[in-house]
């Protein structure tokens, strides 16, 4: 039942580390490095230098100064630190986010709503935040606004410069979760006007277990857990030296050919979109047709269920996802955890479909052949499931009746 094919279209959930990253981590693990806080001896100092060098490389990718970066254990922690850490230090602010943010942003509402004014912005059917509705909320209350650069599930990229302009005009602070966008597009926190930015190592061809939060120098954050003085006291805990080194190398590796991969993946993605539009019956694309991540195609198909399509794809060597890795959680304790995607609900996909969306997310290692392979197998797999679908039968019978 297994296939030799290995066509990985789940880069939105994790990427494979760049060979330079793997080499760097191996090197660092072999270095006999001390604890970076052990400034007194050479092994500790050498470890500190590894961290400093990585900090410079990560900072360079987003056009920031090295000292503005706080290394964390990943995007989840960085999102929690950005929002809860900011509001701990600045309790007079409110909190605003959209209804398509990742749970590491959205669920913070639960603990924050007792202490600060919170608002959730609806997005339009493309997943875009309405500038006017943002402006209206901020007029009433200076806030920290958290809007991701791009949504992992539907690929839509917010018009971040317009949003940042509204935030700064209203004395508000903009946090942007760049987990899904980083590694695929160029990022410049100053040009984009972003005050706090979340990066994740494993989404940019670096290792898992490390992330970073950019913090504009004008902003004060409180730590979200207690401990030592690491990362300017904002993120206690011995630094993840190999992970940080790997993330630095990943950013360094991105630099050279970011632009060319972006263009290549955008073209291949658009091409795949067009092809599926023609070849897949009952297909409905999600997200914005242009303001989207390069190489990202997401859709649902009427009358068929998403997991079974993902499974057929997997049996044919194509690894895709239903957007957010959490949504298809087979390890969930009960059915309730198998909840429909809040993102698809937010963009108005009918609820019977919310468990049925497919995200094909390419990365820099995907070749044109990979895209062609998906184009060649996907329509047949959809047809196979349609023949099994009672819902399709009903639809056809109904059609005959009304047509006839």
């Amino acid at each position: 039942m297994q296939t030799e094919k290995f066509v990985y279209f789940d880069n939105i959930n994790t990427t494979f580390p760049d060979p330079r990253v793997v080499r760097k981590i191996d090197e660092v693990l072999n270095f006999r490095l001390g604890n970076p806080s052990a400034h007194i001896h050479s092994a500790g100092i050498a470890a500190g230098k590894v961290v400093d060098e990585a900090r410079e490389k990560v900072a360079a990718y987003i056009g920031a100064a090295p000292e503005t970066l706080i290394f964390t254990s990943g995007a989840t922690e960085a999102n929690n630190l950005a929002i809860t850490g900011f509001l701990k230090a600045n309790p007079e602010f409110g909190f605003v986010c959209s209804n398509i943010e990742h749970f590491s942003v959205l669920n913070q509402i639960r603990s924050l709503r007792n202490s600060v004014k919170t608002s959730i912005l609806d997005v339009d059917s493309y997943g875009l935040v309405e500038p006017d509705s943002l402006e209206k909320v901020l007029k009433n209350n200076r806030s920290i606004v958290s809007l991701s650069l791009a949504n992992p599930e539907i690929g839509t990229m917010q018009d971040i410069e317009k949003i940042s302009e509204i935030c700064s005009r209203n004395g508000s602070i903009l946090h942007s979760d760049a987990t899904a966008a980083a590694g695929l597009i160029e990022i410049d926190v100053n040009k984009m006007g972003i005050d706090l930015l979340t990066l994740s190592g494993h989404n940019i061809y670096g290792p898992a277990g490390v992330g970073a939060l950019y913090v504009n120098k004008k902003i004060r954050l409180a730590s979200i857990f207690e401990g030592g003085n690491q990362e300017s006291g904002i993120r206690p805990g011995t630094e993840n030296v190999p992970g940080i080194a790997g993330m630095g190398e990943a950013c360094e590796a991105l630099k050279g050919d970011m632009k060319s991969h972006e263009k290549r993946l955008r073209d291949l993605g658009n091409d795949l979109w067009k092809s599926l539009q023609e070849s897949v019956r009952f297909v409905n694309f999600t997200g914005h047709p242009e303001k989207r991540l390069p190489g990202h195609v997401s859709f649902w198909v009427e009358h068929i269920e998403g997991e079974s399509l993902l499974l057929l794809l997997s049996m044919n060597g194509v690894m895709a996802s239903s957007g957010s890795a959490c949504s298809s959680n087979l390890k969930a304790k009960d059915e309730d955890e198998l909840m429909a995607s809040h993102v698809l609900a937010a963009v108005g996909v009918p609820s019977d479909i919310c468990s049925g969306s497919i995200t094909l997310s390419a990365g820099r290692y995907n070749t044109e052949e990979d895209f062609n392979y998906v184009k060649s197998v996907l329509p047949g797999l959809v047809e196979k499931l349609l023949t099994m679908s009672p819902s399709y039968d009903d639809y056809m019978k109904n059609k005959e009746t009304t047509d006839g």
Binding site: M1, A332, K333, E337, D352, M388, S389
Partner: protein, 127 residues
Amino acid sequence: MDKPFPYSETVMDHFANPRNMGDMEDPSAVGNVGNPACGDMMRLFLKIENGIIVDAKFKTFGCGAAIASSSMLTEMIKGMTLDEAMSISNEEVVNALGGLPEAKIHCSVMAEEALKAAMEDYKNKNR
């Protein structure tokens, strides 16, 4: 990698090569459960002769576990008397499939319910 799929080998086999999938002409009974709004929907057709299930077919909209449960159920009940079939529980389907992830047990329940619904349909048609 010795377990590249999220389900047991039997489940994957029944998902990839579902037995008894399709329509049935003149079924003795039909069981309809679920609906697309719940993420799954199952339609079970039975041909019953002399109190024995001589044929069973299904169509399913649902995940891999739902499709495999449907396929397995039809295999299990073919040749059974109505009484025997009435006593089939979802656990038996799960066991026959070599287990299901906890979160997917409800798919086997749906198969059991489809069977019960078809039985009910048969009773109603033949009372």
